[in-house]
Symmetry: C2
Subunit: 177 residues, 2 copies
Amino acid sequence: MDRRQIKTRKAILRAFRALLEKKRYDHITVQEIIDGADVGRSTFYTHFETKDLLLDALCGDMFHHIFEDDPCPWVGRDDELEGKLAHILWHIRDSRSDLSGILLSDSSELFMTYFKAHLRGVFEEYIALFGEAVPRDFLLNHLTGSFAEAVLWWLREGMTLSPEAVAGYFMKITGKR
Amino acid sequence: MDRRQIKTRKAILRAFRALLEKKRYDHITVQEIIDGADVGRSTFYTHFETKDLLLDALCGDMFHHIFEDDPCPWVGRDDELEGKLAHILWHIRDSRSDLSGILLSDSSELFMTYFKAHLRGVFEEYIALFGEAVPRDFLLNHLTGSFAEAVLWWLREGMTLSPEAVAGYFMKITGKR
DNA sequence: ACGATACAGAACACTTTGTTCGTTTTTATT
DNA sequence: AATAAAAACGAACAAAGTGTTCTGTATCGT
């Protein structure tokens, strides 16, 4: 791939993210993005058909590496899920992509949708741990939703607690352990 | 208040809600709203300064009567909270304002924010029921968030379950009872 | 050094926004 | 029923944003 393409693509995404931390998604204009990225108008539209697709691309970039399956030392342990959750939190805190800024922005709901979609995959593996007192889909929905909320709470608190502590709280509150 | 004002205000809100069920909030234009409401352009702007304030007004209308404190037969009983939650669900299902359509729309995240804000008030009263194993704010956040998610799940399922059943599931899943 | 291609920048037709203002209709009151 | 006040209409407006097309220039991979 051409270096120029990569450079401008990154510049656009960076400018977009900077704007997202300042104002709401639907108040951001293409003009502001290309001004921030210092990129021509036509160039923007060759890279991204619409602003919505730009958002998709940003979410892809941000969440992909967090949910990559990397070597996991918790496999087989009885706190395997808790370990994985802590791992996700750890990634968010130390991520170069500065996820926390985006998740705390006025457009956070937008990103929560993507976040939950990824989380669902994680919890699907461990659904059996939580019994069968309620419908499977209800439970899955509950776990992903409430973990995402917990993460947001943690970010709002300034991430003073350790990832392990938050994961522990979450497991406790959902009745496991 | 002038009848005309009430009439046009209602017409605008109705048109807005009809549009929200079809397309996303930030894709809706003022032009579409006033066409749907059959109202002059200047009239719209005398009623609502911006589209965001129109949204605020809509949320106010929709959620207000649900969280009104009306005669509550569960006071003092040990399933008082469960009763109140069922009551809320009952309201949503039978509401004339057709909340379900809005909460299932592409802009549902927007309304969830308002919904949660109101729910927080409900849970604040009963926070003591859930122990002190985790920080109060964490817990409050968890309860409001996950109940809102449960409601959304219920709506998506077509409200086949009874309000009492959903409230029961929720209490079970949060560890109470 | 070469052709290919990505970019800049300007111009464009078009849509949307929010405001203004004179006119017409409806309302509450007498 | 007559009247003054209030509200809605509708046209026109500048300003801003959208998405496309074009030409010339700079940069890339080979």
